[in-house]
Symmetry: none
Subunit: 134 residues, 4 copies
């Protein structure tokens, strides 16, 4: 099993933080490894306190199912096949901002989660982080 290194995690966090600053947001940025366990985290000055937990949960959600966190939300709505899946696993986050991290071979090595702005901006910043590895 490939495993994300701290060097790779820093590359992701730095790329995400760079994007956050460029678009003028204040973000919490979390990286988890293949086991879903926290590898790296930063909270930008002034970023929402409530987004600490959300960024970590977004990253975990993305790794738990190897898909963007927002994909879960399409299936977890009332009447949907995964209704209220958010209450499992100690709390999942099913809106955008969590993205699996893949190495240059396409193997999932972890995930990044971003929270602190609109979900569009959160996803944008997470995507910048994830793209830095490929």
């Amino acid at each position: 099993m490939a495993e994300i290194t701290l060097s790779q995690a820093r590359t992701v966090v730095d790329a995400a933080a760079h994007r956050s600053q460029r678009i003028g947001t204040l973000m919490n940025i979390a990286v988890v490894d293949t086991g879903g366990n926290l590898k790296s985290f930063v909270r930008e000055d002034g970023a929402w306190l409530g987004s600490i937990d959300i960024s970590i949960k977004k990253a975990r959600t993305a790794r738990f199912f190897d898909m963007d966190s927002g994909e879960i939300g399409k299936l977890s709505q009332p009447g949907g096949p995964l209704y209220n899946i958010e209450v499992t696993n100690g709390g999942l986050v099913s809106f955008p901002g969590g993205i699996p991290l893949r190495d240059s071979d396409g193997t999932v090595i972890g995930a990044v989660g971003v929270s602190g702005s609109t979900v569009e901006n959160d996803h944008d910043v997470a995507h910048a982080g994830a793209s830095a590895l490929s």
Copy 2:
């Protein structure tokens, strides 16, 4: 960063309690500091027991995102961008009654949460508390 004092917290609680009595409600009133940690709390005689936790969580929610708790609820409905955000952070409350507290400079120094009646009354009483600082 400014931090709420106990004197300020008491001003908020007293103003909220005064409003609660004037409109004939029985409220739980909680104040948290900038870190989201409890600073002051009172439960009026006969107020709902279930509102102890709700008032504290409303205050925490308001500080966690520096906005009224009810604003979160507009975004967390089925199909909305923050669907089921309530399961994060050990439990958020996304209906009205939580309001950030700002000092005379407009700096957020904590938040107040009120629970015990309709959400309209809860918000009304929280607003009376928050207004006492400005």
Copy 3:
């Protein structure tokens, strides 16, 4: 069943806070009702953040067994009859600072918990609060 009123709870908190200031400590002071549910709480400016939870748990512990929290600690040591009882009830505190509150008839109407200094000072301040009702 007699039940503590907010007026009584304020008497307890004010007496405890007065004592705290007189002996030069920074305290968290919590009052719970007969159901063990939070009735009133204040954190003095600069008091330890970790004592929020401890003061509330001391008050709950005192009411749960209608005895001073420190009495539990005499029984919960290794080899004792209540070994590790602290892990029950979502967390008990078995050192001094929690005292049942009795009305003038001697009926238990709640409990006070104090945390922020040595356990001797915590108990001293809690005692000042409890004594204000009798």
Copy 4:
């Protein structure tokens, strides 16, 4: 009240990581702010998974009582005045490795927690991190 910046948190983490590498350990390093909320975290490659939570709890414990986490452990032993305090606050860690962070004025602005080796090494690495701010 002063609040730790991300720049300061990075200084602490980098100094701690540098020390960790010099003494040949694999550490989890966490920094919390004055409210006890996570500000920055890194897990060195190969560091224990069980130390993620411990490093964060050490940092929180140090900030919660504005003292080294190991000081709590001297008081929480069987027969000691704070026996089993570890079950409060969602879990405290009372062995060495958590140290308050002070700015150049001596004001507490957060705390660092380190876990991954012996408690002596954990404290050594945390101390290197904390010293980088003064």
